[in-house]
């Protein structure tokens, strides 16, 4: 795949013509093509940093090392001006703590850090195991499933609802809103869903404040910051992030993991015989199939990666390119169980690094363990349409039909 060079419409003065590409992260890869392979062609053939005029114009980092430099530099690359491309309008609350800078951001993260700490995750992992086992037991007798709908959207949402003590019956509504809010190509549809999600959470926050418990939602909305309580906007924005983060990204990585195992019988056989190698496989899957993309706001004029950036520019940091950059990893596209990468970027890097990494790893491990115990052999079901991809803030699979001998 090659990105077209475009004319200078909507391109600011300081951006040289030869750095401009026609790139739209929502549409750059069609649904019947592997989005990682299309990214790989871009990252391994094109310049390390390019500019696209879409959505008011933004830079795209297209190089693993530049990504490693950009993520930790929170003072140069601010998150406080929102992290979406395009950013949400002013009436949509900041997604907290991610759309904030230090030291405010660090203070906001405290209850999340504790809830998702090694100790916090012990109890959550027990819950996750129960939910995974229950769901796979339901599915296994069918001999087939649409993995995204039947499993990877459901299981993390069930766990999240337990963590924040919200009703399990709200699952389908929230899945639909989260999906549209993050994935819809139409900006108006995304915003509608985001506002509906905010309205839902607003109501729940108000109710919970009247009778807080020992759940994560109560811990977040009753926290003190600099001797004050959070505002309702902060509380709602925080809960929205928790929901997106705990749902879409974990579920997305589960689908990537399931797809990898469906296509690699040798890895499946090895893990069935040696379940102790599952964590090594998961780390490689996280490297090779990273899915999240964030953007930042450039806080001062600066030369970065040999390119002049101006204060106020937006710059996109796509983690999917890191693990597939051949200049960063030998045979980057291969999942090698003995590679044991400790420095991949699936969870980002620096102060904004994903607070849910320990829980995400536990959920992925438990999913693979429990799934392979019950369904050791399975494949992608081409008769049901095969896999379908989607791109955007979080890229991944929108459907993954699987089948096996029931």
């Amino acid at each position: 795949m090659e990105i077209q060079v475009v004319s200078k419409n909507n391109v600011p003065e300081h951006v040289p013509d030869d750095l401009v590409r026609d790139f739209n992260h929502f549409t750059f890869s069609p649904e019947d093509e592997d989005a990682h392979l299309n990214w790989a062609r871009v990252v391994n053939n094109d310049i390390p940093l390019f500019f696209t005029p879409h959505f008011g114009g933004y830079w795209v980092i297209n190089d693993a090392r530049l990504l490693e430099d950009a993520f930790p530099d929170w003072e140069l690359f601010s998150s406080a001006h929102k992290i979406g491309v395009p950013p949400t309008p002013d009436d949509v609350p900041h997604l907290l703590p991610i759309e904030a800078d230090d030291p405010y951001h660090k203070q906001l993260r405290r209850p999340l850090n504790l809830a998702l700490s090694p100790k916090g995750v012990i109890a959550l992992a027990a819950s996750a195991k129960e939910l995974v086992a229950q769901l796979v037991d339901e599915i296994v007798v069918q001999g087939h499933c649409e993995f995204v709908h039947d499993f990877s959207l459901k299981m993390p949402m069930d766990l999240f609802l337990r963590m924040v003590n919200l009703p399990a019956e709200d699952r389908e509504t929230l899945i639909a809103l989260a999906n549209t809010g993050l994935k819809a190509h139409d900006e108006a549809a995304r915003l509608d869903a985001m506002r509906s999600m905010n309205a839902y959470l607003h109501q729940k926050v108000v109710e919970r404040l009247e009778s807080p418990g020992d759940d994560l939602m109560s811990a977040i909305i009753t926290m003190d910051i600099d001797g004050r309580k959070l505002t309702i906007g902060e509380q709602v924005g925080y809960m929205t992030t928790a929901l997106f983060g705990g749902l879409d990204t974990v579920g997305g990585m589960m689908a990537m993991t399931a797809r990898h195992l469906a296509r690699n019988p040798d890895h499946r056989k090895l893990l069935v015989a040696h379940p102790e190698k599952i964590p090594d496989m998961i780390e490689e899957v996280l490297r090779r199939y990273a899915i999240s993309t964030v953007s930042r706001f450039v806080t001062r004029d600066v030369e970065f990666g040999g390119v002049q950036l101006k204060q106020g520019d937006r710059i996109m940091l796509p983690t999917p390119i890191h693990g597939i950059d051949e200049s960063r990893w030998d045979n980057a596209l291969e999942v090698q169980l003995d590679r044991k990468p400790t420095d991949h970027m699936a969870f980002g890097k620096g102060t904004h690094r994903c607070p849910g990494a320990i829980l995400a790893r536990a959920e992925l491990r438990i999913f693979v363990e429990e799934w392979l115990k019950r369904i050791p052999d399975f494949a992608i079901d081409e008769s049901r349409g095969g896999e379908k991809w989607e791109t955007g803030t979080v890229l991944g699979l929108k459907s993954l039909p699987l089948h096996w001998q029931a």
């Binding site: 930790p72 993260r109 850090n113 700490s117 090694p118 100790k119 620096g350 102060t351 690094r353």
Partner: protein, 106 residues
């Protein structure tokens, strides 16, 4: 330079020598010591650089600050000896010290 020995939960010893001022987390990671995960990279956000210090060295260094004490609540098998390696810097007080690592960080 400061010489220290990391000791795994099953008593394997990993001697290291690092420049003064290096955090204990960095000292372990840079020298390939297993069992010091440092998930968050040293941001005091994850409690996976949990380690144990003997009373001898603890008497010579500052007590944990409020933020470290709070984050330590998220570690597993916490004792009076518990500290977070990202908040400790190798100084002369650490020369010859043995730093024990928990079973949970393997």
């Amino acid at each position: 330079m400061v010489r220290m020995v990391f000791v795994s939960h099953d008593n394997n010893e990993y001697p290291v020598e690092v420049a003064e001022g290096t955090t204990l987390l960095r000292a372990a990671l840079d020298n390939g010591v297993p069992g010091m995960t440092g998930e968050c990279g040293g941001e005091l956000a994850c409690a996976t650089c949990h380690c144990y210090l003997d009373e001898g060295v603890r008497a010579k260094i500052d007590e944990p600050g409020d933020d470290e004490a709070e984050m330590l609540e998220g570690a597993i098998d916490v004792t009076a000896d518990s500290r977070l390696g990202c908040q400790l810097r190798a100084t002369a007080s650490f020369d010859g010290v043995r730093i024990r690592l928990p079973a949970s960080q393997t």
